[in-house]
Every structure is written in C-alpha cells, then in structure tokens.
C-alpha cells in the first residue's frame, strides 16, 4: 500500500535527519583528530535536557507560546552544549594528545559515563516528558481508510535540520575556519606551518559538533516528547553507525548514513517487527562494510601526495 509506505518514508526521514545531525559531530571530530568522541551522544542528551529545563521554566512563568519556548530552548541548548563540547575537549582529550592511541578513547568513555551520571543525579533517573509542543499536521493523502500525515513537528524538524546543515556546510566549505579545519584534517603540521592555531581550530570543531548535537537533542525531545539520561547512548550508537555507514570522515556521508538508518528503522518497524529494528540496522551496516570497507562516501586515498 503506497500510503503506508509514504508514511514510513516521512517518519524515516525525520528520524534520519536527527541521526544525521549527531553523526556529523562524530565524523568531524574523527576527521580532524582521528578519535571517536564517545561522549558525543551524551552531549546530545544534555542538549535535550537543557531543552526540557527551559520549556519547563517557560510554562512555569505562564508563557504559553510553545514555539517561542522551543526557539529559546534551542538557542540556550546550542550555547550550553557548545560550552560542554569545548570543556570536554580541553579537560579530557587535549592533555592526552600525542599519548598512546587508546588513551583519548578511554577518556571519552569516562566522559560519557560522567555526563550520564551527572544528568541522572541532577535530573533524576525517571523518564521526563513534555506535552506535544506543536500539535497537528497536514493530511497528505488517504487510501483505504489509512491517513498519511505529516505533523507540523516533523516539518519543523526537517526544516530546522536542513537550515542547520546549510549553515554548517557554508562554514566548512567557504569560511577561513572551515578551510583551516579541512587543512588540519589533511595535514595538521603543514597547517600549523602556515599559521593555523591548530588547538583553537580543534576546540571550535568540538564547539560546532556539540552545537549540532544540541539541535538534534531539541529535535528529539520535541518529536518523542519523552527523554531520559540514557538516550545519548542509543542515539549515539545509531549516529556513530550512520557515520561509519556513510564513510567516517565524510560530512555528506554522515548525513546520508543518518537518513539511511532512519529509513531502515522506519520501514523495518513498519513492515517487519519493531523488536528487531536494531538488528536490521547493524546487519545492513555489516553488509555495506563488507563490500565498501570505507563506507558509502568514504574515500580510499588515491591522491599522490
């Protein structure tokens, strides 16, 4: 039934956009310093919590305009998560740079546990929920009594993600900062020889990646309406998988990988069983990696240097 498939497509794209936003943060950090930032999923979780705190404060003040509240939540979350990202890099990764390869990885896992426990103790271990921020939606079509819906929230998520990715793409491809990031990725020592302050650019990479995770956190919160301190783990693993599927280090690959995983999840849950959706995701990852070890858009280095 075409209507049902269309509905899964809409759901899958929405979810995939959120994964894509988080995946970009993994792939950016990997590209520039070659490490997997395992705390990234938890920055996303913190972003969602900042959102719930701001929204609660808004309704506490008796301000009913939820879209305004969401926008403020988004901005506050982006700023706070940026600060978190900056701090994590400074405190947990920079001191270990140049040490053995596993050291920052272990430190990242430690950071992840720290953030989860911090949120668990300060915000409680129970699920937190918000009322649906923007109810309603478009009826796209109807077939045999099945209504295809695109909620206003889904539209908001897709538009926000596209705008965020647009700004991000502009920064990476057109600005001196983005150029410096790519230069460090390709040859960090040469970038420094040309006057790039590599530590500063690495800091900013964490800030930007964390800001994207914050946007994803707010999107997740407004889409599902329920969060807990553990969402960072699941979403983080999915987004990391998306980054690997798209080709770790490739920014368009991260978005593509996110979309694919969102779609696989949506269609698998829609047609097979929701219980095994994660198995489906990882099976497809395994199959892709067997035939394309560098992921879908990852590059095998062929240039002469």
């Amino acid at each position: 039934m075409i209507a049902y498939a269309l509905q899964q497509l809409i759901n899958g794209i929405t979810l995939g956009m959120v994964y894509g936003l988080i995946a970009v943060g993994y792939t950016m950090v990997y590209g520039i310093i070659g490490m997997i930032n395992f705390a990234h999923g938890d920055v996303f979780m913190v972003g969602a919590y900042v959102g719930i705190i701001v929204l609660t404060a808004f309704s506490g003040m008796g301000i009913a305009a939820v879209p305004v509240g969401l926008l403020v939540a988004l901005l506050v979350s982006v700023v706070l998560c940026g600060v978190y990202g900056f701090t994590i890099e400074r405190a947990a990764y920079r001191p270990l740079r140049g040490s053995f390869r596993l050291a920052p990885l272990i430190s990242a896992i430690g950071m992840s546990i720290l953030l989860e426990n911090f949120v668990q103790t300060s915000q409680g271990a129970k699920d937190r929920a918000i009322p649906e921020p923007i109810p309603g939606g478009f009826k796209i079509m109807q077939q045999h009594g099945f209504v295809v819906q695109m909620s206003y929230m889904q539209i908001a998520i897709i538009v926000t993600t596209l705008v965020t990715l647009g700004i991000f793409t502009y920064i990476v491809t057109k600005t001196p900062l983005g150029r410096a990031m790519r230069a460090i990725e390709q040859d960090a020592k040469m970038a420094a020889l040309l006057g790039v302050n590599t530590n500063r650019v690495i800091s900013l990479t964490f800030v930007i990646g964390s800001a994207l995770a914050a946007v994803a956190g707010i999107m997740f919160l407004s889409y599902y309406g329920v969060i807990n301190f553990f969402i960072g783990f699941n979403a983080g693993i999915k987004a990391f998988t998306a980054a690997v599927l798209g080709g770790i280090g490739s920014l368009p690959g991260a978005v593509l990988g996110g979309l694919l995983i969102g779609l696989i999840e949506a269609f698998w849950s829609g047609y097979a069983t929701i219980a095994y959706k994660d198995v489906a995701v990882y099976s497809i990852l395994a199959i892709v990696l067997m035939f394309m070890p560098t992921g879908l858009l990852g590059r095998a280095d062929i240039e002469k240097v």
Partner: protein, 239 residues
C-alpha cells in the same frame, strides 16, 4: 646589513636520537643562504626547528631581534617566516586556490589579490590550474604551488627544503630563476636546502655544510664551491 635570523648552540632531538648538535648559524637580511649536507645530516630538521617542531632543546633562535625559541608554530608563521617543507605537503583535497588561501592565512585580505597576481606572474601554470585539486597536480606543479603558497604570506624569510626534488631541469631553472628574482627585486631573504649543491652554491651568497647534525664548514658560495673537500663530497656528478 642587519641580522634576520641567528641560531646559537641549537640542539634538537627525536625521542632519544639527537638530530642537531649545537648549531650556530646566521642569515643576514637580503641574503640567500644554503645548507648542504648528505642525506640524514639534519638539514630538514634544522629548518623545522626554526619553525618550532621539533623544538630546540637547548640554544636560542633569534629572529629580527626577538627570541622565538619557545614560540608556538603558528606564532612563528605569523612573524612572517614561511617554510615550504620537504615533500611539498600540498593539501591534496583542496583546490590550488584554496591551497594559496591557506598560505595567505596570516596576511590581510586586501593584500591577497596583489600577492596572488605576483604568484601568477611567477608561475603562470598555477593560474591555468586554479580550480584543480592539489593532489592531482603533477609533481612540478605541486612544487610550484608549494613555493607560491609559502610566498602568499608575504614572508620576510623564506625557507625552501629541496624545491627542485624530482623536477625536470627546465623547471628547476625556472624555480631557481624565481628565487633569484624575488631576492633581487623584493629583497626577500632565503634559506635554501638543495640536493644539487652546485646550483645551490652558485645561487647563494653564503653556505653552511652540515654533517651529522653539526656545522663543519661555512663560507661564501663561490668560496665553498672552490674547496676540494666540497667538490669531493658533494659535487661529484652534481652538475
């Protein structure tokens, strides 16, 4: 003449391995100075140590009257010391234009166009290739780009590590011509490492001979060229 760069007692290490053993060297403003020495003598290390990586363990590096021994790499670059290091190190996934923009990191944007025009005069080839990815340029084109990228920062001191490596004689001639021209017309100070000791000593005002991380000989270019021990060690078949 005033001194552009002076090193005294500089040592540098890679882990336990000592690569520089007490280097004393000066470069005057407006000079072309060359370093010659066998493979592994420490020429590239000396240049990189001036740039701050590996850092000098002892001794001091004074640049335009300022001690830069402990400066960060990017700060040294901002003091207008440009280095086109060994192996060209072009950013392979950036266009020629972006590579040049990277070189211009430290200059005001207003100077960029002027400097770019100057590079296109020196290496017209780069203008034709402006949108091509660095990694797909030919070896010679990459070398031109490496030199142009270093020059984009309007350096006071330009360091070139084996700029003629792997290039056809005609291109080598062109690059040496460009160095001479920049030195004469703009007063650019150059520190040059070159496999081809004959050509390097002919181009340079002065030269230093590096053996096993220490300087064993120094003198005017022509003077060194005439020395029998130089002829025997470095010039056999060199021209």
């Amino acid at each position: 003449m005033s001194t552009m760069l002076s090193l005294s007692g500089v040592t540098a290490f890679y882990g336990q391995i000592q690569a520089l053993r007490g280097i004393d060297l000066t470069v005057e403003k407006g000079e072309i100075v060359t370093l010659i020495g066998a493979n592994g003598a420490g020429k590239s290390t000396l240049m990189m140590t001036i740039c701050g990586n590996p850092r000098a363990r002892t001794g001091s590096i004074i640049y335009q009257g300022e001690d830069i021994t402990q400066c960060a790499m990017h700060d040294i670059a901002r003091k207008r010391i440009a280095h086109a290091p060994e192996g060209r190190r072009i950013f392979p996934r950036m266009s020629v234009e972006e590579n040049l923009l990277m070189g211009a990191q430290v200059v005001k944007f207003a100077d960029y166009d002027k400097q770019l025009a100057l590079m296109f005069d020196l290496f017209p080839r780069l203008k034709e290739r402006i949108n091509q990815r660095g990694g797909t340029l030919s070896g010679g084109e990459q070398q031109m780009l490496a030199i142009a990228r270093a020059l984009m920062s309007k350096p006071d001191l330009l360091m070139l590590d084996e700029p003629s490596l792997g290039l056809a004689p005609l291109v080598v001639k062109q690059i040496f011509g460009a160095i001479r021209q920049l030195n004469r017309e703009l007063g650019l100070t150059v520190l040059l490492v070159e496999q081809n000791a004959y050509q390097a000593l002919r181009l340079a005002h002065r030269g230093y001979v590096l053996v096993n991380g220490a300087i064993t000989m120094q003198g005017g270019g022509a003077e060194l060229l005439a020395r029998p021990e130089i002829k025997a060690a470095y010039l056999e078949g060199g021209h």
